[in-house]
C-alpha cells in the first residue's frame, strides 16, 4: 500500500512549498542562534539544534545544519514538557527550559528551550532551541565526569520549568541556574541567544499561519509526517526480508570491578514494510557515566536510518516507520539515577555503528563500516595571563576517520555522524582564549583501517598548557576497540588515546575515561582520535592507490608492504616520488591471496566477543 497523494488535503505543489517554508523557519532560528551565541562551543563549534514540532509534540522539521544527535530526542523533550507542565499551563509567550536526560534530554550540558506557538488562541505547534552550554555544574569543569556514579555528581538537573512566562523572563530562576555553573557569563549570553532564536521561530511560524491559514499549516504538518513514514516504508520494502544482527563494543565501564567490553547488540528485522531494531541483548546499565537514555537510543537509530536513506526529510514520520525493542535498564535505555555524561561519545556512537553494520549486510553501497569516535577532552582552570585573569573551560574535540564505504574509493576525515554539523575550534582562537599552545594538529599516518577501500585517517592535536593549575577530564571510547573493518578490510590501526608527557620517559597514557587529572604546565599532551575501519581485502587495492597514499604520507612504506602487500623499493622525499618493486609486489600479493582463500572466516561475519565489533 503506497501513499495515495491524490487523497491528500494539500495539493502536491503547496505541499512542497510549505515543506521548504517550514524548514526555512528552523534555519532562520539556527542562523540567529549561531550568530549571537557567546561560547565558542556554540558559535564556532555549532553544537546546537533548532526544530519545529506540531501541537502534539511530533517533530516536523529540524535545521539543515543542526546537530543530528539532538534530532531524535526532540519529540521526547516536547512530550516531556507537555507531560510535566501540563497542556493547560502552557500559554502564549511562555518558554519552558529543561535539560533532564530522563525527560527527553541527552546529557545535562544540552539545555533545551521549548516555546509554544499559538494562533487564534489555539496551540499550533512548538519551536525548540537546544545548545550545549560550556558547563552545567557538578564536580568537574565541563560536566563530563566519567567516574560519576550518579546524576547528583554530574551536573545540575533542570526538569521542565518556565523560564519565560507570558513574555516575562524569570530572572530569579536564571540567576539560580547561573549561580550553579562555571563561566556563567557565557551561558547567560547563550541562553539569551536561545530565547531570541525561539522568538524568531514563533514570529516566522505566525507569518506562515497568517499567509496560509492555521488549518493548512496543520494539515501540511500532518502530511509531512506521513510522507516521511511512507518514504522509509517504501525503501524498507525494497530490502530483503530477514533478521540481521551486529554487535559493537564499549571499551569498559569505568566504575566496574572488571574492565570488560560491554556489547551494544542490535538485531534488525526487515519484514515487508516494517523495520524493527531489537537491542534487548545489549549490556545492562553501567555504573559509570557512559549510559544513554531511551531518547538518545532513538536518536542514534534515526541518524543511522536517515544516513542510509538521506533523501527522506527528517521528522516524526521516520520514528513511525521503525520500531525499537529494548527493555529499560540497558546501557542504552538507562533509568534514573544512572550517570549519562558519556551518552554521545560512548553509547550513541556504538548504537549508530552497530545499526549501520546491520544495513551493511543488505545495502552495502549505501553505508560504511565503523568510524573514529568522538571524544571530549576538557581542561578547566584559572588563566593568570595579564588581561585575562579568569576561570576557563577549554573544550577539545577532534575529527576522526570515517569508515570505508563500498560505494566510494575511500573515506575522509570529519566529525562523526551524530555531530556532523559541528566544527572544530581554530587553534589561533584557542591560543587567544586559553593558556595553551598547540604544537601540531594533523592527520595521523597509518591510523586508518587498510582495505580495498581505506578508512579516513585519524587526527592528533598536540598541546601543552603555558600556566599551572589546569585539571583535565576525558570522556570517550574506542581506545581498546578501534573502529572495525569488514569484508576482510581491517580495523583502524589506531584508536583514541590521550598521552601525557608524550615522548619522555614519564609518558603516561590516560585512556579515554578519566576525570580530574592535574596537568602541569609545559608537558606535552597528545590527543588522538582514531581512523576509520577498512572494507574489502587490502591485497586487492590497486597499487597506484597505495602509491598515492605513500607519496602523500597517509600510508608509510612499511604499512604499504605489511598491510597492502606493495613493496616500495625507494622513496625520494624531496621529489615526492616513490618506486615500486613490481616483482616483489606480485609475490607478496599472490601469497596474500592464497592465505585469504584459506581463511575460514566468512566475509563480513568474522566478529567475536573479544572486544571487537562488527556484523556477525
Amino acid at each position: 500500500m503506497s501513499e495515495d497523494i491524490r487523497e491528500s488535503v494539500i495539493d502536491p505543489v503547496t505541499f512542497e512549498v510549505l515543506r521548504n517554508a517550514l524548514v526555512a523557519v528552523v534555519d532562520e532560528m539556527g542562523m540567529m542562534l549561531e550568530k549571537v551565541a557567546f561560547s565558542t562551543v556554540v558559535s564556532e563549534g555549532r553544537d546546537f539544534s533548532t526544530s519545529l514540532s506540531d501541537a502534539d509534540g511530533n517533530l516536523v522539521a529540524d535545521g539543515t545544519q543542526d546537530l543530528p544527535g539532538h534530532v531524535g530526542t526532540i519529540p521526547f523533550t516536547t512530550a516531556g514538557v507537555i507531560e510535566h507542565i501540563g497542556r493547560d499551563n502552557i500559554r502564549q509567550g511562555d518558554i519552558i527550559m529543561m535539560n533532564d536526560p530522563f525527560i527527553g534530554g541527552t546529557h545535562c550540558q544540552d539545555v533545551r528551550l521549548v516555546m509554544p506557538v499559538f494562533w487564534d488562541d489555539e496551540l499550533v505547534g512548538f519551536v525548540q532551541a537546544s545548545a550545549h552550554i560550556v558547563d552545567a555544574g557538578g564536580a568537574v569543569a565541563g560536566s563530563f565526569q566519567v567516574d560519576a556514579a550518579s546524576p547528583y555528581e554530574e551536573a545540575l538537573y533542570i526538569p521542565p520549568i518556565h523560564l519565560v512566562r507570558a513574555g516575562e523572563l524569570d530572572e530569579r530562576l536564571l540567576a539560580l541556574i547561573l549561580r550553579n555553573v562555571r563561566i556563567s557569563d557565557l551561558t547567560r549570553g547563550d541562553i539569551t541567544a536561545m530565547i531570541e532564536s525561539c522568538k524568531t521561530g514563533e514570529s516566522r511560524f505566525h507569518a506562515l499561519c497568517e499567509k496560509y491559514g492555521a488549518e493548512t499549516i496543520r494539515a501540511e504538518m500532518s502530511e509531512l509526517l506521513v510522507h516521511s513514514r511512507e518514504m522509509i516504508a517504501s525503501r524498507v520494502e525494497s530490502l530483503p526480508d530477514g533478521t540481521y544482527s551486529a554487535t559493537d563494543f564499549i571499551d569498559y565501564d569505568p566504575l566496574a570491578e572488571e574492565q570488560v567490553p560491554l556489547p551494544i547488540t542490535v538485531k534488525m528485522t526487515v519484514a515487508g514494510r516494517s523495520l524493527t531494531f531489537d537491542f534487548s541483548e545489549s549490556s545492562p546499565q553501567a555504573k559509570g557515566a557512559i549510559n544513554a537514555t531511551r531518547s538518545l537510543l532513538w536518536s542514534a537509530v534515526v541518524i543511522a536510518t536517515k544516513a542510509v536513506f538521506p533523501e527522506v526529510p527528517i521528522n516524526q514520520g521516520i520514528f513511525w516507520a521503525i520500531d525499537i525493542e529494548a527493555p529499560d535498564g540497558l546501557v542504552c535505555t538507562a533509568t534514573f539515577p544512572a550517570a549519562v555524561g558519556g551518552a554521545f561519545a560512548v553509547c550513541c556512537e556504538k548504537i549508530t555503528a552497530a545499526t549501520l553494520a546491520c544495513f551493511l549486510q543488505i545495502i552495502p553501497e549505501r553505508t560504511m563500516v565503523a568510524s573514529g569516535n568522538l571524544c571530549n577532552c576538557i581542561i578547566g582552570g584559572y588563566d593568570p595571563r595579564p588581561d585575562f585573569e579568569r576561570d576557563y573551560v577549554l573544550y577539545n574535540w577532534n575529527e576522526g576517520g570515517l569508515g570505508a564505504r563500498p560505494g566510494k574509493r575511500d573515506n575522509h576525515t570529519a566529525m562523526g555522524l551524530f555531530c556532523s554539523g559541528t566544527r572544530n575550534q581554530p587553534v589561533e582562537t584557542m591560543e587567544l582564549e586559553y593558556p595553551v599552545i598547540f604544537t601540531g594538529y594533523s592527520l595521523m599516518s597509518d591510523s586508518a583501517g587498510p582495505g580495498y577501500h581505506r578508512g579516513g585517517l585519524g587526527v592528533t592535536r598536540n598541546f601543552y598548557l603555558t600556566h599551572e593549575g589546569g585539571t583535565l577530564s576525558v570522556l570517550g571510547d574506542r581506545e581498546r576497540t578501534p573502529a572495525w573493518g569488514s569484508h576482510k578490510g581491517q580495523d583502524a590501526k589506531m584508536g583514541n588515546q590521550l598521552v601525557y608527557k608524550a615522548d619522555t620517559p614519564e609518558e603516561e597514557r590516560f585512556g579515554m575515561m578519566r576525570s580530574r587529572i592535574p596537568i602541569e604546565a609545559g608537558h606535552l599532551l597528545k590527543f588522538w582520535q582514531g581512523g576509520g575501519g577498512g572494507y574489502g581485502p587490502a591485497w586487492q587495492r590497486p597499487v597506484e592507490w597505495v602509491v598515492e597514499d605513500v607519496v602523500d604520507g597517509r600510508v608509510s612504506p612499511e604499512s604499504a608492504r605489511e598491510d597492502y602487500f606493495v613493496a616500495i623499493s625507494s622513496v625520494d622525499e624531496e621529489a615526492a616520488t616513490v618506486e615500486v618493486d613490481l616483482e616483489e609486489t606480485k609475490r607478496l600479493r599472490a601469497a596474500a591471496e592464497s592465505a585469504d582463500a584459506q581463511s575460514v572466516a566468512p566475509t563480513g561475519a568474522d566478529r567475536d566477543r573479544e572486544g571487537r565489533g562488527g556484523p556477525r
Binding site: I5, R6, D11, F15, E16, V17, N20, A21, A24, D27, E28, E34, K35, V36, A37, F38, E44, T64, P68, G189, T192, E196, K199, T200, H227, E230, M231, S234, K306, A307, V308, E311, I314, R366, M368, R405, H412, A414, M415, L417, S420, G421, R423, N424, P426, V427, E428, T429, L432, F438, G440, Y441, S442, L443, V459, V551, D552, E574, A575, A576
Partner: protein, 698 residues
C-alpha cells in the same frame, strides 16, 4: 588616469565595461556625449580574451577612441571550480599542514554517507612545513632555520612548483617569519608566484586565512597568463586602453594589484551585476533594492540599502573553499532555468538542487537532456517562446519538453501537464523567496519596503512570482536586462580594503590614540597602493570601520566610524551604532554588556568616470548576432498559462521598443533580446524616463 583635454567630435573617448561569463561575453560602451553601445558575443574559453576582442570589434568604435576598459572576469572562478589552477605548494608552521584538508571538520551533507568534500587545492605531499612558531601575542618562540629554507627551495624546484602559499600561525600579529620565507623563495626562485597570508589577509582563523592564501597562489599564475594574453590581444587588435579589473568587493583595481590578490577577482561577475542594479536603482529613485539575477544553474540574490550593496567579509566559492575578502554579499540559490524537477520515493514533487546546466541542458535544448527543468516548464506554459535565445541559435523544442513533462512528472502526479509545469514554477519561486527571506526578514529588513529588481536571462520571468511570495509590491526590470553585469563595470570606482586586528574594550581610553594611529598607518599604506595605479592619489576617500561584538561573542558586526580622528566621541558613537545594529539584525541589544572592538578596517575609494544612466535605456546594439532569427517580434498576442487563471490570451510587448511614458499590462509578456518578463493578470507597469519597467504587483 590622465584627462584627455583634446577631445573633439572626431576623437570621442569611450569607456568600456566587459563582463566575461562562462557562456556569453557582454560589452557595454559609453561615450562622453552620452551614446551607449552594447555587444553580446559567445565566450571563447579557455581563451576568453578572444571573445573580448570580438565584442569590442562589434561596437564599431575606432580602437584609438577607447581609453579605459573595466573588466569583470570569470577566469579565476573557472580555474578554481574546474581545478585548473597552478601546481601549488603550501608552506605552514610545523604540525599544521593538514589544516587545509581537515577544514573545520564539519560536513555539508550531514547524513549522506556518500558525500565527499571537494579535494583541497594542494595535495598533501605538497603541503610543506617549517619549524617556526609565533605565539598569540606575536612573540617568536621558534626562529626560522636558514638551513630549512635551503631544503624548502630545493624541494620546490625539484617538484616544478609554480605557486607557493605561505601561512604561519599568528602571522597576522607578527609577519616576520612569513616575510623571511617569502623573501628566500622570491630571491632564489624568481619564477614562482609567492603569496603570504599576512600580506593579503592579516586576520586570525588559520583555516580560513590559509584557504584564502592557497586560493590566491593557485590563481596567481593563471591570472598572470590571462592578463598578459589579454594585453597582447588588445595591442594586436590596435587597442591601447588602460585595463582595470573588477574585484568581488564591487571596486576596480589595476592589473598590478590584481596580480597580488588574484583571488579577489573571484565573484567579480555577480558583484558587477549587483553594482549595475544599484546604479539603475539610484537613477530610478529606488535606493532600496533586492536583486535577483537568475541564470541557468543558480539565482544570485543580494540586498541594496540606501543605494549601497550589503557587504560580507567572506564568500564561499564552493563548500569548504572560503575566500575571506570583503565582498559584495551575493547569495547563490540553487534555482535556475536548468534546475531539474523530479518525484521522490513517496511520489512528491521536488525541484533541484540538481541542474541540467547548459550541457545537456533542459529537454527543450535538444542536446540530450531527458529530465524536465524549470526552463522546460516555462516553455510548456508558453511563457518562453520557441525563438528565445536560451541556447544560442537553437530553436527550443516545445513538443519534447511537453512530452517529457507529461510522462515523467504530470501523469505520475495525476495532474494536467500545464498544471504540473505551473507547479514547478511555484516551487522554484518559493525556494527563491525563502532565500530572500533569510537575507532580509531574518536580518531585520522588511522586504515589503524594497523594490525587487530582476535581471539575467531568467530573473524577469520569475520576478512577479517571487515578489508575490514575499509581499513585495514593486518590481523593476531594467532595459537590456541580459547585460546588467557589464553595465555594473561602468558604474564602479577603484576600491582597496585593508584591515588589522586590534583589541579595544569599550572603556579603554588609553589605547584610543593607538587605534587612531593604526587607522592612519592603514591609510598611508593604501595611499601607496593607489599611487602605483593612479595619478589622482590625493582624491582618495577613506572610510574607517571596525568589527565589534559583545565581549565573549564570536560573530562580529562591522560598523562604520564617523569621519575624523578616532577619539572618545567617535568610539562612543561607534558603540551606540553597534547596539543599534545588533537590535536590527538580532532583535535585541544589551547596553550593560561589555563590548569589544577586534578588527580595524579602512576602505579607500577613488572615483572613476562612469556611465550616465539616463542614456542606458537608449543603447545601440550594433549587431545582435546572438539572438536567433526571432519570429516572435512580429507576434502581438499569444496564449500563456498562469497559475490560478489557466490559459489566457496575452499581449506580447517588444521590450527594446518600450518608451518612457509607455505602459504594460498583464496578462502578457515583455520580450527582450535575451530575457523575457512575465506579467501575470493584475500586474500593470509603466516605463520610466530611463526606460525601466516599474511593475505594480498586488
Amino acid at each position: 588616469m590622465a584627462e584627455h583635454e583634446q577631445t573633439t567630435e572626431q576623437q570621442e573617448n569611450w569607456l568600456i565595461g566587459v563582463d566575461t561569463g562562462g557562456t556569453f561575453t557582454d560589452v557595454v560602451a559609453s561615450s562622453e556625449s552620452g551614446e551607449v553601445r552594447i555587444a553580446k558575443v559567445p565566450s571563447t574559453p579557455p581563451a576568453f580574451e578572444e571573445g573580448i576582442i570580438n565584442g569590442l570589434n562589434k561596437l564599431g568604435i575606432p580602437p584609438a577612441h577607447i581609453r579605459t576598459i573595466h573588466h569583470g572576469t570569470t577566469v579565476s572562478t573557472n580555474a578554481a571550480i574546474m581545478k585548473t589552477g597552478a601546481h601549488t605548494a603550501l608552506v605552514t608552521t610545523e604540525g599544521f599542514r593538514d589544516v587545509l584538508e581537515i577544514r573545520r571538520g564539519n560536513r555539508e551533507e550531514l547524513y549522506d554517507i556518500l558525500w565527499d568534500p571537494p579535494a583541497p587545492l594542494v595535495r598533501r605531499a605538497n603541503r610543506l612545513e617549517i619549524n617556526e612558531r609565533i605565539n598569540y601575542a606575536g612573540e617568536s618562540i621558534h626562529e626560522v632555520d636558514p638551513e630549512e629554507l635551503d631544503r624548502l627551495c630545493r624541494v620546490l624546484e625539484k617538484r616544478g612548483i609554480e605557486a607557493v602559499a605561505i601561512s604561519f600561525l599568528h602571522s597576522y600579529v607578527n609577519p616576520a617569519h612569513e616575510a623571511e620565507v617569502h623573501k628566500a623563495i622570491a630571491d632564489r626562485l624568481p619564477d614562482i608566484f609567492v603569496t603570504s597570508s599576512s600580506d593579503i589577509l592579516p586576520e586570525p582563523g588559520e583555516f580560513e586565512r590559509t584557504a584564502t592564501t592557497v586560493a590566491n597562489a593557485y590563481l596567481g599564475p593563471p591570472m598572470v597568463k590571462y592578463v598578459s594574453r589579454l594585453e597582447a590581444a588588445l595591442r594586436a587588435a590596435g587597442y591601447d586602453a588602460d585595463v582595470l579589473l573588477m574585484h568581488s568587493g564591487g571596486g576596480l583595481m589595476s592589473i598590478d594589484a590584481t596580480l597580488t590578490v588574484p583571488a579577489r577577482t573571484i565573484g567579480s561577475g555577480p558583484a558587477g551585476g549587483v553594482m549595475g542594479a544599484a546604479a539603475v536603482g539610484r537613477a530610478a529613485g529606488r535606493p532600496n533594492l533586492i536583486t535577483m539575477d537568475m541564470g541557468g544553474t543558480s539565482c544570485d540574490v543580494s540586498v541594496i540599502v540606501d543605494g549601497h550593496p550589503r557587504t560580507a567579509s567572506e564568500q564561499s566559492l564552493e563548500w569548504g573553499l572560503p575566500i575571506r575578502f570583503p565582498n559584495i554579499e551575493v547569495n547563490a540559490v540553487g534555482a535556475g532555468g536548468g534546475s531539474i524537477a523530479w518525484l521522490d520515493a513517496a511520489g512528491r514533487p521536488r525541484v533541484g538542487p540538481e541542474s541540467a546546466g547548459a550541457r545537456p541542458g533542459p529537454v527543450c535544448y535538444r542536446r540530450g537532456g531527458e529530465k524536465p527543468t524549470v526552463s522546460d516548464a516555462n516553455l510548456v506554459l508558453n511563457r518562453l517562446s520557441q525563438g528565445t535565445a536560451l541556447a544560442g541559435d537553437v530553436l527550443l523544442d516545445t513538443e519534447a519538453a511537453t512530452r517529457v513533462m507529461d510522462e515523467s512528472f504530470a501523469t505520475p502526479l495525476g495532474m494536467a501537464v500545464d498544471e504540473a509545469a505551473a507547479g514547478i514554477i511555484q516551487i522554484v519561486d518559493s525556494t527563491m523567496a525563502a532565500a530572500v527571506r533569510l537575507e532580509t526578514v531574518n536580518r531585520g529588513i522588511d522586504p515589503r519596503e524594497f523594490t525587487l529588481i530582476a535581471f539575467g536571462g531568467a530573473g524577469p520571468l520569475h520576478a512577479v512570482g517571487v515578489a508575490r511570495e514575499l509581499g513585495i509590491t514593486e518590481v523593476l526590470i531594467p532595459p537590456n536586462p541580459g547585460v546588467v553585469a557589464a553595465l555594473g563595470q561602468q558604474t564602479v570606482d577603484m576600491i582597496h580594503d585593508l584591515s588589522r586586528p586590534f583589541l579595544l574594550t569599550h572603556n579603554d581610553d588609553d589605547r584610543l590614540g593607538k587605534a587612531d594611529e593604526v587607522f592612519a598607518e592603514l591609510e598611508t599604506e593604501m595611499r601607496g597602493r593607489f599611487a602605483k595605479e593612479s595619478e589622482d592619489g590625493e582624491a582618495i576617500a577613506f572610510t574607517r570601520s571596525a568589527d565589534i561584538r559583545y565581549k565573549g561573542q564570536t560573530h562580529v558586526i562591522t560598523v562604520e566610524l564617523p569621519a575624523g580622528a578616532f577619539d572618545t566621541n567617535a568610539r562612543n558613537h561607534l558603540i551606540d551604532a553597534f547596539h543599534l545594529a545588533h537590535t536590527k539584525e538580532f532583535r535585541y541589544s544589551r547596553t550593560d554588556w561589555p563590548v569589544e572592538i577586534i578588527l580595524l578596517r579602512v576602505k579607500g575609494r577613488l572615483t572613476t568616470k562612469s556611465i550616465d544612466l539616463s542614456s542606458w535605456g537608449y543603447a545601440n546594439v550594433p549587431e545582435a548576432d546572438v539572438t536567433s532569427s526571432d519570429t516572435t517580434k512580429s507576434e502581438r498576442h499569444r496564449k500563456v498559462y498562469y497559475h490560478g487563471s489557466g490559459w489566457l490570451e496575452s499581449t506580447v510587448y517588444d521590450g527594446d521598443a518600450l518608451l518612457p511614458g509607455g505602459s504594460v499590462e498583464g496578462p502578457g509578456v515583455v520580450e527582450y533580446s535575451n530575457s523575457t518578463v512575465l506579467l501575470p493578470p493584475g500586474v500593470h507597469g509603466s516605463v520610466d524616463k530611463c526606460r525601466n519597467i516599474i511593475l505594480k504587483v498586488s
